[in-house]
């Protein structure tokens, strides 16, 4: 069972789905479920496409890092589509292509192929956000996203001019052996970093996020903030860890950008009065923390942070967007008392929010404790302090939000959540609690995530 099926089957289904509108949603669900099941039977390996030797053909790369990422992305994708497939039937073909592209992003071992998948995933995302009915924000997203991927391509082409290869492993090998001064790598790496940073919502380059997530619905909100964010952060993490390996002045610049992103994100969330804005600024600062961890080489905990965040954000966005669909406004004051009649939903929301804050008993705490310790060990005390301050701010506004949503003085909101929603919330809440209390499997998995480096060793040195 080759991992290529994870990309080929959704694509085939997408091409077939335009022939019949009725079958398309069924195909979408079937393929989504089939992908998760098929993934269990796929061995970890390097897959050559077309049968050409490594640097010449394109290859896919399924290791345990990619496997974790694929389970996460395919699982979340399936949940989100399951909840929305009835309402957004028209988007079935587009969602199938998006699934193929996200799997491709996580699997591909070729840097130009990565660009192609980035564009496909991007175009699918623009189309998913057209359901917000805010064409101007979609337009902004399209323009900024296209500039981002152009910058990535620009950086990549400079690397090609220097090393004459596009394959990720071959490129890393060339950089290690050619003995090029790091100074001449700054320009291409920085261009690629900015290009991908735009997609990954890093602060200085994320003008698109606000318009998109502020008006999001039950499809676009969870899809962009949870599924896409997880996939792009994990792909970005792989590149940062294996290819960029920032050092010297470039490391300082990148760190300053990221820390500024964390602080500004939290500050803007603190100021905001709208539920969805609070969530979106919080997710910006979480994205910055994730990339910060990748830059500092704390891979395992960065991956868990991505997982914990993706789960929590899925719940938060689903609850708020489902509620705003009825209230037509996401002002915190209009949503007061949302959970008075929906205890279960309230508990799920609270658990997810507390986990993002990093309180004990939840998975967020385990992750936060571990990465802060590791940052402290690595000697980045300033960053530890700043993240702690940011967490404090985050705690304040989340508690404020929770109090408002639980208690209301005058009016009562009555919003019914369907059974599938409740089931999803129950499962995710259970997961967050489970890993929060019983953290030893996480601890023991430490350093189990092997990297491309080992693979390069196998290929080039036997």
């Amino acid at each position: 069972m080759s991992a290529i099926l994870l990309i080929a089957i959704p694509l085939l289904a997408a091409f077939l789905s335009i022939l019949s509108k009725k079958v398309a949603p069924i195909l979408l669900l079937l393929v989504g479920a089939a992908n998760i099941i098929l993934l269990m039977f796929m061995p970890s390996e390097v897959i050559n496409i077309g049968g050409f030797a490594l640097p010449f053909g394109i290859n896919l790369f399924l290791d345990s890092y990619a496997r974790i990422a694929l389970y996460l992305v395919n699982g979340l994708f399936f949940i989100v589509t399951l909840l929305n497939v009835v309402e957004y039937k028209k988007l079935s073909s587009i969602l199938l292509v998006a699934l193929a592209a996200l799997n491709g992003l996580l699997l591909t071992g070729d840097l130009f192929n990565l660009f192609v998948f980035l564009e496909i995933a991007g175009i699918a995302a623009y189309l998913i956000t057209t359901t917000n009915k805010k064409p101007l924000s979609t337009f902004n997203y399209l323009v900024i996203g296209t500039v981002g991927s152009s910058l990535y391509l620009f950086g990549l082409i400079i690397l090609y001019g220097m090393f004459g290869t596009l394959n990720m492993m071959d490129m890393i090998h060339e950089i290690q052996t050619a003995g090029v001064a790091y100074g001449s790598l700054i320009l291409p790496f920085f261009l690629m970093f900015i290009g991908l940073g735009i997609e990954a919502k890093l602060l200085p380059f994320n003008a698109w996020v606000k318009g998109i997530l502020k008006h999001s619905n039950t499809l676009s909100g969870p899809m962009i903030a949870s599924v896409y964010a997880a996939a792009i952060s994990l792909m970005f993490g792989r590149l940062i860890h294996n290819l960029f390996a920032f050092e010297g002045k470039l490391l300082t610049v990148v760190l300053i950008l990221l820390v500024a992103g964390v602080i500004l994100g939290e500050a803007m969330a603190f100021q905001s009065k709208k539920a969805r804005e609070i969530l979106l600024f919080s997710s910006i600062s979480q994205a910055c923390i994730t990339v910060l961890l990748f830059v500092n080489g704390i891979i395992v905990w960065a991956v868990y942070l991505v997982i914990a965040n993706a789960l929590s954000k899925l719940v938060l966005y689903l609850v708020i967007n489902r509620a705003t669909k009825e209230t037509k406004s996401d002002d915190v004051d209009d949503l007061q008392g949302l959970f008075a009649n929906n205890i279960l939903i309230g508990i799920a929301f609270t658990v997810a929010a507390l986990s993002v804050m990093g309180l004990p008993l939840f998975v967020g705490f385990v992750v936060k404790l571990n990465y802060l310790t590791q940052l402290a060990v690595a000697g980045q005390l300033a960053i530890v302090g700043l993240i702690l301050v940011a967490s404090l701010v985050e705690g304040i506004y989340f508690v404020k939000l929770l109090i408002k949503l639980w208690y209301s003085k005058d009016k009562e909101l009555n919003i019914k959540f369907d059974l599938p929603y409740k089931a999803v919330f129950a499962v995710i809440t259970f997961l967050i609690l489970l890993f929060g209390i019983y953290a030893s499997p996480l601890d023991s998995l430490d350093n189990d995530i092997d990297s491309i480096q080992d693979q390069i060793g196998v290929i080039y040195h036997g």
Partner: protein, 247 residues
């Protein structure tokens, strides 16, 4: 004022990039690309030590005489599958955004096409279609291939749209063609996985370099791409040239 500042800033950035590239010793100077350091040298020699001779060499690693085609549809054919998908999804998006209204009519172009124009465009239509088919079929020998060929076919449709105010193509048929051609591309890829060992493997014999019937699945894939691109772009043109029925 803001504009001047922006201009100076961006041009300054450009000069900075130029200087950075200039002082980068491992970045090849313009016009002196060192192909022996690059993977391209493998593509040109097709991975063999012997000379590849047009019209004589039989069954090389990759069949096409046009080396760019051998990269696009053979060595890096997975990129091309992605490229086809990009066009597919943006055509789908255009029809989602513009073609979702229930009643649609042709947008009138505000001029009366005369007899000459109508007949002339029909005559040209055939010639352009023929050129498109030629370019698609010979993609592995001469410059061209499925993408420009398919677009030429679509621009023949565009000509009909422009010459006749009432003309509308049958979009339903295009949809079917598009879906079938795309599926066949993936199925050919999967066939490579079944017949051979790799996805998108060229499982047919490569033949003699330079023959029209050579290089295995590549002409077939290019024909499929041509059909798919042609029908997709015709669909996009139709979507752009229709509007909602005025109430």
């Amino acid at each position: 004022m803001k504009k001047i500042l922006g201009f100076i800033l961006t041009i300054g950035l450009g000069l900075l990039i130029i200087f950075a590239l200039d002082s980068n010793s491992s970045f090849d100077d313009f016009g002196f690309a060192n192909l022996s350091n690059r993977v391209s040298s493998h593509y040109i020699t097709k991975g063999s030590n012997v000379d590849i001779i047009f019209g004589e060499t039989v069954n090389p690693e990759s069949g096409p005489a046009n080396i760019v085609t051998s990269i696009v549809v053979d060595y890096r054919s997975f990129d091309t599958l992605g490229e086809v998908t990009v066009l597919f999804i943006s055509a789908l998006g255009v029809s989602l955004l513009l073609g979702s209204a229930v009643t649609q009519k042709r947008m009138s172009l505000d001029f009366k096409p005369n007899f000459m124009l109508r007949v002339g465009s029909r005559a040209l239509f055939g010639i352009i279609i023929m050129t498109g088919v030629y370019v698609t079929l010979h993609g592995h020998l001469t410059p061209g291939g499925g993408f420009p060929g398919g677009t030429m076919i679509a621009s023949a449709m565009l000509l009909l749209y422009l010459a006749d105010d009432q003309f509308r193509a049958k979009i339903k048929g295009f949809k079917i063609l598009e879906g079938v051609a795309g599926s066949l591309f993936v199925i050919i890829g999967l066939l490579g996985l079944v017949v051979g060992t790799y996805f998108l493997q060229n499982f047919l014999p490569n033949g003699t370099v330079g023959d029209l019937f050579s290089s295995g699945i590549i002409p077939i894939v290019y024909i499929l791409i041509g059909l798919k691109v042609g029908s997709e772009i015709s669909g996009v043109i139709d979507n752009f040239l229709t509007e909602e029925e005025a109430q």
